[in-house]
C-alpha cells in the first residue's frame, strides 16, 4: 500500500489547547514540529470551554495563592490526584495565563485594569480568568494565531490510527488524511498525544464528535498504562431540551454569576444536602450565597457551587424522586437576579453572552426572563494516559501526553476551570520534554510490516463481504455503544449494570470488526466513524473494567451497591494495561506518600 512519509522531530497529535501549547514550546526549543488534527485548525473541543481558566492570580481576593489552589484541587479530587502534578499545576498556572496575555489573549478586567476572576465550584476564592463565557475560544484562537507564526506544520483533517515503535521506543505514527483518504506515515523522535477526551462513548455528552478516546487508545495499544478511567465527570448542567441539543453544556459560569437550581416545587434543593467536608465553607441561606457570588469576601459560597460530582448527584436525585422539570431535568434560574440588580438583563447578556445566544437560538428561551432546564451530561475524563508528573512522558519512551487524554492531575473529580490551566501548564511541559527527548534520540527506523498491517486494517471496511450480512453501519453501532455506556456505566453504576455493559461491549467489538461502509476513501465520514469504533470500544471497556474494580463511591464514581467511601480505596489508583495476550488487565497502584510540606498545606488550607 502506498503512503507518503513526513518527518518531524516532534509529532503532536491533537490541536486543542494542550497540543498547540506543546507545539509552541517544542518549536521554541528549535526542533521541527508537526501538529496533526482531526478537524480544521481552531475547531478543537477547547472552543467549547466557557467558564474560565483557574489560576491563583489573587487579583480579586489576595487571600488566594498556589497553596490554596493546590489544596482545593486535591480535595476536589478526593485525594486520589497525582500530588506532584497538582502542585506543579497550581504553581505554574498564573505564569501561563500572563504568558497567554502577552500573546494577545484578552480577559475581562478588574476596576484597576488587572485580569478579572470569577467564582467556580470547589474553588475557595474567585480564581477563574475569563472573557465572558467564551474563554476556550479566546485561548485556542490566541494559541493558534501565535503558533502559526512560529514555523509549526499543521496537518489538518488527518487521523492517526497507530503508533509505531522500534524496540520499546516510539518512532512515529500511521495516519490517513480525511480529504482524499491517502495514507501518511509520520517519522518522529517523540510523539505528544493531546487528543482530548472520551465523551462520545456516552449518549448524552457535551463533547464534540472528535472526543472518541483516540489518544487513550493509541497509547494503550502501544503499551502505555491508563489510570483513573473509572472517574468520568458528568457536568451537572447540560441542556435537556429540545432533544436534538440534549447534552450541550450550560456553563458553570451561570451559577458563578448567581444562578440557582430549583426543582418543580420551586425549592432550592441544593441546600438540602451539603457534604460534611464542605459544611464550613458553604452558605446556609440564600442571602449569604448571593453575597458570595457578588464578591462579598466574608460570605460563604452558595451550595450550587459545590463540586460537580455532588451537584450532578443532587440533580439526579430530584429527577428520580419526581421533582424534575417537564423535560427530565431541573431548573437553573439566572433571571431571578433581576430582584437584586437594576440592570440585570444587560448584566446577564454581558457576563453570559454565549448562554444567552445558545438558549435563544436553540431552545427559544430568553435566559434573562425564564429559567433554563438542565441535567447532567458526560463532560470530562479525569482518567487518561499515565504520565510522569514533571515530563509528561508515559511508560513508553518518547511517548508523551498532555491535557484531557493524560491522567493524574484531577483525581476522582475535576474542578471547573482546572482543565484550561491543565492544558497550558502540562502542554508546555510536554512540548519542552518531548523536544529534549527528540534531540537526544534522533528519529529511528520505521517498521514497514506494522505500517502494512495498519493500512490493511484501515481498508477492511471496504472489503467485499461474501455471505454474511454487513450489520447496521458504523453510526448505529456507535449509537448502541453510547446507550450501553449511558445505561450501564453512567452516573450511578453497580456490579450488575457494569458487567452487563462489558458483555455488550464484547459483542459490539465482534460486530465492529465486520462493519462495512459504502463509497470510497474521499471524505467519507462513514469510513471515519468505522475506524473510530476501535478507540471508543477500547476506552469504554477501560472505563467499565476500572468501574467494576473500584468497589466504593468516591468523587465522580458512584456505585449503587457500594454507596460509601471506603478507606481501603483511598490510597490507590487503578491502572489499566494491555497484557501480552491482548487482554485488558486492571491493577491497583498505591499512591506514593505525600511529602510533609504538601501534607501540611492540605491540612492548613483544606
Amino acid at each position: 500500500m502506498s503512503y507518503e512519509t513526513i518527518e518531524h522531530d516532534v509529532l503532536i497529535i491533537g490541536a486543542g489547547g494542550a497540543g498547540l501549547r506543546a507545539a509552541i514550546e517544542a518549536s521554541a526549543a528549535g526542533v521541527s514540529v508537526g501538529v496533526v488534527c482531526k478537524s480544521l485548525l481552531g475547531k478543537a473541543h477547547t472552543v467549547m470551554a466557557e467558564g474560565g481558566i483557574a489560576a491563583s492570580l489573587a487579583n480579586v481576593d489576595e487571600r488566594d495563592g498556589w497553596r490554596v489552589h493546590f489544596a482545593d484541587t486535591m480535595r476536589g479530587g478526593a485525594y486520589l490526584n497525582n500530588w506532584r502534578m497538582a502542585e506543579l499545576h497550581a504553581r505554574e498556572a498564573p505564569e501561563r495565563v500572563h504568558e497567554l496575555e502577552s500573546w494577545g489573549a484578552l480577559f475581562d478586567r478588574t476596576a484597576d485594569g488587572r485580569i478579572l476572576q470569577r467564582n467556580f465550584g470547589g474553588h475557595a476564592y474567585p480564581r477563574l480568568a475569563h472573557v465572558g463565557d467564551r474563554t476556550g475560544l479566546e485561548m485556542i484562537r490566541t494559541l493558534q494565531d501565535h503558533g502559526i507564526h512560529r514555523g509549526i506544520d499543521v496537518h489538518m483533517e488527518v487521523s492517526v490510527v497507530r503508533l509505531l515503535k522500534d524496540g520499546g521506543r516510539i518512532t512515529g505514527a500511521v495516519a490517513y488524511e480525511r480529504e482524499r483518504g491517502r495514507f501518511l506515515v509520520f517519522r518522529a523522535g517523540a510523539v505528544v498525544l493531546a487528543t482530548g477526551g472520551t465523551g462520545r462513548a456516552y449518549l448524552i455528552t457535551s463533547n464534540s464528535w472528535e472526543c472518541t478516546g483516540d489518544g487513550h487508545t493509541l497509547a494503550y495499544d502501544a503499551g502505555a498504562e491508563l489510570t483513573d478511567m473509572e472517574f468520568v465527570q458528568f457536568h451537572p448542567t447540560g441542556m435537556v431540551w429540545p432533544p436534538s441539543v440534549r447534552g450541550i453544556l450550560v456553563t458553570e459560569g451561570v451559577r458563578g454569576e448567581g444562578g440557582v437550581l430549583k426543582n418543580s416545587e420551586g425549592r432550592r434543593f441544593m441546600f438540602d444536602d451539603i457534604p460534611p467536608l464542605y459544611t464550613d465553607q458553604t452558605a446556609d441561606n440564600p442571602e449569604e450565597g448571593w453575597r458570595y457570588t457578588q464578591g462579598d469576601r466574608e460570605a460563604r459560597r452558595p451550595p450550587e457551587l459545590l463540586t460537580r460530582d455532588h451537584v450532578a448527584r443532587c440533580i439526579v436525585r430530584e429527577v428520580r424522586e419526581g421533582r424534575g422539570s417537564p423535560h427530565g431535568g431541573v431548573f437553573l434560574d439566572i433571571a431571578w437576579i433581576g430582584e437584586k440588580l437594576p440592570q440585570a438583563e444587560a448584566h446577564i447578556k454581558r457576563k453570559l453572552p454565549s448562554m444567552y445566544h445558545q438558549f435563544r437560538q436553540l431552545a427559544n428561551i430568553d435566559i434573562t426572563r425564564q429559567p433554563m432546564e438542565v441535567g447532567p451530561t458526560t463532560h470530562y475524563s479525569m482518567g487518561g494516559i499515565r504520565v510522569h508528573a514533571e515530563t509528561q512522558m508515559s511508560g513508553v519512551p518518547g511517548l508523551f501526553a498532555a491535557g484531557e487524554c493524560a491522567g493524574g492531575l484531577h483525581g476522582a473529580n475535576r474542578l471547573g476551570g482546572n482543565s484550561l490551566s491543565d492544558l497550558l501548564v502540562f502542554g508546555k511541559r510536554a512540548g519542552e520534554h518531548a523536544s529534549a527527548f527528540a534531540r537526544e534520540n534522533p528519529a529511528a527506523a520505521i517498521d514497514e510490516s506494522a505500517v502494512r498491517e495498519a493500512t490493511g486494517t484501515m481498508l477492511a471496511p471496504f472489503d467485499e463481504v461474501s455471505g454474511a450480512a454487513t450489520d447496521v453501519g458504523p453510526y448505529r453501532l456507535q449509537g448502541e455503544l453510547q446507550e450501553v455506556m449511558q445505561g450501564g456505566v453512567g452516573i450511578v453504576r453497580s456490579a450488575e449494570s457494569i458487567q452487563a455493559a462489558l458483555d455488550e461491549i464484547g459483542a459490539l467489538r465482534e460486530r465492529a470488526a465486520r462493519i462495512r461502509v459504502p463509497g470510497n476513501r474521499e471524505y467519507n465520514p462513514g469510513w471515519h466513524t468505522a475506524l473510530d469504533l476501535h478507540n471508543l470500544l477500547t476506552v469504554a471497556e477501560a472505563i467499565a473494567r476500572a468501574a467494576l474494580e473500584r468497589t466504593e463511591s468516591r468523587g465522580a464514581h458512584t456505585r449503587a451497591d457500594h454507596p460509601d467511601k471506603d478507606a481501603a480505596w483511598g490510597d490507590a489508583n487503578l491502572v489499566v494495561k494491555k497484557a501480552p495476550d491482548g487482554d485488558m488487565i486492571v491493577s491497583r497502584s498505591p499512591i506514593p506518600d505525600i511529602p510533609e510540606g504538601l501534607r501540611r498545606i492540605i491540612e492548613e488550607m483544606g
Binding site: K43, H45, H98, G104, L106, R141, E210, I248, G473, E522
Partner: protein
C-alpha cells in the same frame, strides 16, 4: 410526526442535488436532519461539524441559498412544505458533498502581521487595561471562523479576487489587532496594498450572515478604511510626498 425533504448536494463540481426524506421533530436543526440522513440513508455523505452549538464554526453551508451554520438553523424557521436545499459554500473549491477546501483562509491568516505588544506597563511585568478598551475588541474576537462572511462576499464569491482581497473575516482579524489595547504594530500600509481593503464597497452582506452578530462592516471595515484614508490621503503627508516628488499609489 412530520417529514421534510432535504435536497442535498452530492459529489464534486460535477455532482448533483439528491432528495432525501427525513422525519423531523420539535427543536430540530438542519444539521440534525443531515446527520440522520447520513446515519440511515447516505453513510458516506461528507459534512463537517464539531460542537453542534454554534461555537466552532465548522458546519457552514448554504441553506435555501443563504449561508448559515447548519447547527443553528432551526427547521421551524424554514418552510418545510417544499424541499430544503443544503449545498456547500461557493467561495471555496468543493471537496465533496457539503465539504469545501477552506485552506486559503489559513494561508491568508499566516500572511497577516501577528500581535506585537507594547512593553509591560506594570511593575509585576503585566499590563493594565480598561474594560471599555477590551470590550471594543471583544466583538471581533467572538469570531468563530466559520467563513460565512467570506462565502457571501461578492469580491470573493463572484469576482474571485482571492489573490488581492483578504475578505471580511480577515479584515475583522486585522481590526482586532489594530484596536487591541496592547498592540504596537501599524498595519495600514498592508491593509491598503496587500490586503485590499479598498475592494470592499460596503454592501454589508457579511454583517448580514454573521452568526456571532459581529457588526463587521460598521465596526471593523469602515474604521479600517478611515485609518487607511488617514495615512494615505492625509494632506500633510501628501505635501511631503509632493515635495519629495514621490507619486502616490493608486487603489
Amino acid at each position: 410526526m412530520a417529514t421534510a425533504t432535504f435536497r442535498i448536494w452530492r459529489g464534486d463540481e460535477a455532482g448533483e442535488f439528491r432528495d432525501y426524506d427525513a422525519e423531523i421533530h420539535e427543536g430540530m436543526v438542519v444539521l440534525d436532519a443531515v446527520r440522520r440522513i447520513q446515519a440511515d440513508q447516505a453513510q458516506d455523505l461528507g459534512v463537517r461539524w464539531n460542537c453542534k452549538a454554534g461555537k466552532c464554526g465548522s458546519c457552514s453551508a448554504e441553506v435555501n441559498g443563504t449561508p448559515r451554520l447548519m447547527c443553528m438553523t432551526r427547521l421551524n424557521e424554514l418552510p418545510i412544505d417544499r424541499p430544503i436545499t443544503v449545498e456547500p459554500m461557493k467561495s471555496f473549491p468543493l471537496v465533496r458533498d457539503l465539504v469545501t477546501d477552506v485552506s486559503w483562509n489559513y494561508e491568508v491568516k499566516r500572511r497577516i502581521a501577528p500581535f506585537r505588544p507594547r512593553p509591560p506597563d506594570a511593575a509585576d511585568g503585566t499590563w493594565r487595561m480598561n474594560q471599555s478598551d477590551v470590550d471594543r475588541v471583544m466583538e471581533f474576537r467572538k469570531c468563530i471562523e466559520c467563513f460565512l462572511c467570506q462565502d457571501v462576499c461578492h469580491v470573493l464569491r463572484d469576482h474571485r479576487l482571492h489573490d488581492r482581497f483578504i475578505g471580511p473575516r480577515f479584515l475583522v482579524h486585522v481590526a482586532a489587532l489594530e484596536m487591541h489595547p496592547l498592540d504596537a504594530d501599524d498595519r495600514r500600509e498592508e491593509l491598503r496594498k496587500a490586503q485590499g481593503v479598498g475592494y470592499c464597497n460596503i454592501t454589508k452582506c457579511c454583517t448580514g450572515v454573521c452568526p456571532e452578530e459581529i457588526q463587521i462592516t460598521d465596526n471593523a471595515i469602515i474604521p479600517l478604511k478611515e485609518r487607511v484614508a488617514d495615512v494615505a490621503y492625509d494632506p500633510l503627508s501628501k505635501l511631503v510626498q509632493l515635495v519629495r516628488g514621490r507619486p502616490r499609489a493608486k487603489e
